[in-house]
């Protein structure tokens, strides 16, 4: 399954890919009742939109597209091999373990040889894009409603966060 940037669309990922990415991002910056996580602010929305922009807005976009398409498929396969469950159905603990292996470059059920994916590079890309999706200007799609800035205290005094409740 490739990304759907062709034909043109406002988003790059297919729904299943986006669900996988949401899972991974939430594991990178998990939320709780009193602190927002990646899912609370739709962090993956930023890179989902950025990868869809044609012509590409930044020179690394083409490489990121390829890395995500291959990387998400590989992570899903690794999750099925390691936790016996699809990535989208994995528990937070299972996703955490998967990412810990990726960060250390020790996932075994991962493409090797020609077409190999650099596990540490994939992890670093996921982490950087998760942080961007959480803390960049909301205009780019992530950091929904500026909720992460409000809790962190960027450009204003930090405010408490209450998941699902009034802020």
């Amino acid at each position: 399954m490739i990304g759907r940037h062709a034909p043109r669309s406002a988003r790059f990922f297919w729904p299943e890919q986006r669900a996988q990415l949401d899972k991974l991002f939430e594991a990178i910056l998990p939320g709780s009742d009193d602190s927002p996580g990646a899912s609370d602010v739709a962090a993956a929305e930023l890179i989902d939109r950025e990868l869809a922009i044609e012509p590409v807005s930044y020179h690394e976009v083409a490489a990121w597209r390829a890395l995500y398409v291959a990387g998400l498929a590989a992570l899903d396969a690794a999750c099925r091999a390691q936790a016996k469950v699809a990535l989208v159905a994995a528990t937070p603990e299972q996703v955490h373990d998967l990412l810990a292996g990726l960060a250390a470059g020790t996932l075994t059920a991962f493409p090797a040889g020609p077409g190999a994916i650099d596990q540490k590079k994939l992890f670093a890309t996921l982490r950087a894009h998760c942080i961007e999706g959480c803390f960049a200007d909301p205009s780019h799609g992530g950091n929904r409603g500026g909720a992460m800035w409000r809790w962190y205290g960027y450009l204003e005094t930090s405010k408490p966060f209450h998941r699902g409740g009034a802020r």
């Binding site: 594991a27 990178i28 709780s32 807005s57 961007e132 960049a136 962190y152 960027y154 450009l155």
Partner: protein, 553 residues
């Protein structure tokens, strides 16, 4: 044909050095034509203030895909295409996006051999051919021309701040001190160290027709949205243009320097990639296009180099970063007051500029800029480096949440070290034999490895401030010493060394080529050694010094 088609002086590059020269030379009555490869950027080019666009996606510097620098790695055998962080092609150059941190180089930098008792055998350290005292009048002129805020002699015993002439003062008082200033002053005071408020080319009050800093929070890699930060356009280029003796031509890429029989006669340039080369003639050409690019232009132009010195002794400052959190302190910016944001108002620490500790095996050190990580750095840049100790860099998951919780609740501090770097002959600029830039010209290839001295220096200096901060209740979070590799990020100097011995330098003591008369270099490429402070002020002072000595033909 106008007088600018045969000017007295051609200036290549419109940044700190080129802009300053345009002002200094037009003030003396010379006509100058400034050739700038990039475009003029107005306020709309810098807005909206968006960290993703300007910092994370590096919108204002050339892309590594189409216009890179090639780094050969520590073994000299790699081909790593890297971005040129401090080469913001455009009118004003990198002064449009800098932090405007404006310390002086001091005697310890000019006379490094009198300070260093332990120069490694493979290092080519040399004294500069000028003294600090000779530079003092030009430092003073540069500080006023570029509108610097700060305060001289902040301590009764002020030897650790840059020395200044009795009765001399900067044109503006310091920016509002950061909220952690008193806490840090007391903590360092207990250790016998004395931080001080740093000099910045940022308005602390309305000055020269520009407003005071509004503490908006966007400095490095952003244009200043209120024009309170000095740049080449709002200081020197505007003055040069107002004389009627300066013509600023954008979109003019100089492809080579033209010389014959040991004299410069002009430059060849293009106005569009793939277009024809044109000639512009002058009996003097001043090059100021950033260290690596100036060396590249010398190599492209086949400037005679009988002693194989062009491109050699390239230096990047030794760097290091440490960040700590004080769980015994509330966040400095607790509100409702809104404290100064970004690098402005930061403390500087020069107590380790020289090192008197025989056990260290080090004698020449460097300085620190001290920041509050929470309010001095925009969030993407800050949080991407989130660490929970020396062995826990780039944390994620629960550790990242813990890091964020600490940062928004407790006072923190971060130290950015700028240190001396050993000059090595093999650290150099060459022309790449594969990659060309969009104008069809071979790009620069750098060979660079930091000497073991640099790496030990960064660890030693960081260790000293970490000890002081730990005694005050701090816990170490982020730690980055100096790596052996340097792909190209940081203050860069050398490669076209100035000196009095034509056998050991490329430029003479007035920064004119030993082998091509009339050809001058004004960016940091002239610096014989790295020194240990942010280089812009010293580069600007040197430009004023050189231009004062240019003879009327």
């Amino acid at each position: 044909m106008t007088r600018f088609d045969r000017p007295d002086v051609i200036i290549v590059g419109s940044g700190a050095g080129g802009g300053t020269a345009a002002h200094a030379l037009t003030a003396r009555g010379f006509t100058v034509t400034v050739l700038e490869k990039g475009e003029a950027r107005g306020a709309e080019s810098f807005l909206p203030l968006d960290e993703l666009h300007f910092h994370a996606r590096k919108a204002l510097i050339p892309g590594a895909d189409v216009d890179p620098q090639i780094y050969a790695g520590v073994d000299g055998k790699q081909r790593i295409a890297v971005e040129r962080w401090w080469e913001a092609n455009g009118v004003g150059g990198s002064t449009m996006i800098w932090d405007a941190n404006f310390p002086r180089y001091t005697r310890e930098d000019f006379e490094v051999l009198s300070v260093m008792k332990d120069v490694p055998g493979d290092a080519g350290m040399v004294n500069w051919p000028w003294s600090y005292d000779e530079f003092q009048p030009y430092f003073e002129a540069a500080e006023h021309l570029w509108c610097v805020s700060g305060k001289t002699r902040q301590h009764e015993h002020h030897a650790r701040q840059e020395p200044t002439r009795d009765g001399y003062e900067l044109p503006m008082p310091p920016l509002v001190p950061h909220a952690h200033t008193q806490f840090l002053m007391e903590a360092f005071g207990k250790a016998g160290m004395m931080p001080y408020l740093g000099a910045r080319a940022i308005n602390s009050k309305t000055h020269a027709g520009r407003p005071a800093c509004s503490f908006c929070g966007y400095c490095q890699f952003f244009g200043c949205p209120v024009n309170s930060r000095a740049n080449a356009v709002n200081t020197v280029l505007s003055r040069a243009l107002a004389t009627g003796r300066c013509d600023l031509r954008t979109g003019h890429c100089v492809t080579r320097l033209v010389h014959d029989n040991g004299k410069v006669s002009g430059v060849m340039y293009k106005t569009e990639p793939g277009g024809p080369e044109h000639f512009l003639g002058a009996s003097r050409v001043f090059v100021s296009v950033q260290t690596v690019q100036s060396a590249r232009l010398f190599l492209l132009s086949q400037i005679p180099d009988p002693n194989k010195m062009i491109g050699r002794y390239l230096t990047y400052h030794t760097k290091g970063t440490a960040e700590l959190i004080f769980k015994n302190q509330p966040v400095w910016d607790a509100g409702p007051a809104f404290q100064p944001r970004t690098a402005i108002g930061s403390l500087q620490l020069r107590d380790l500029y020289t090192i008197d500790d025989p056990a260290s095996g080090l004698t020449k050190g460097g300085k620190f800029s001290i920041y509050d990580p929470y309010t001095c750095t925009p969030p993407l840049r800050q949080i991407k480096t989130a660490s929970m100790g020396k062995t826990r860099p780039n944390v994620w998951g629960k550790e990242l949440v813990d890091y964020l919780r600490e940062l928004r609740a407790h006072g923190g501090v971060s130290f950015s070290f700028t240190g001396e770097a050993m000059s090595l002959y093999d650290n150099r600029v060459e022309l790449d034999d594969v990659v060309v830039d969009p104008w069809g010209i071979p790009v620069a290839k750098t060979y660079y490895r930091h000497h073991d001295y640099d790496r030990r220096l960064a660890d030693y200096a960081l260790g000293r401030v970490i000890d002081v901060m730990t005694a005050a209740g701090g816990e170490l979070r982020r730690y980055e010493g100096q790596t052996e590799a340097n792909p190209g990020y940081g203050h860069v100097h050398g490669s076209l060394r100035a000196g009095v011995d034509p056998g050991a330098s490329v430029l003479d003591a007035n920064c004119q080529s030993h082998t091509v008369r009339g050809l001058y270099v004004l960016d940091a490429a002239f610096m014989p050694t790295a020194g240990a402070s942010n280089p812009s002020l010293t580069l600007i002072a040197n430009a004023l010094r050189v231009c004062e000595r240019v003879e009327v033909s």
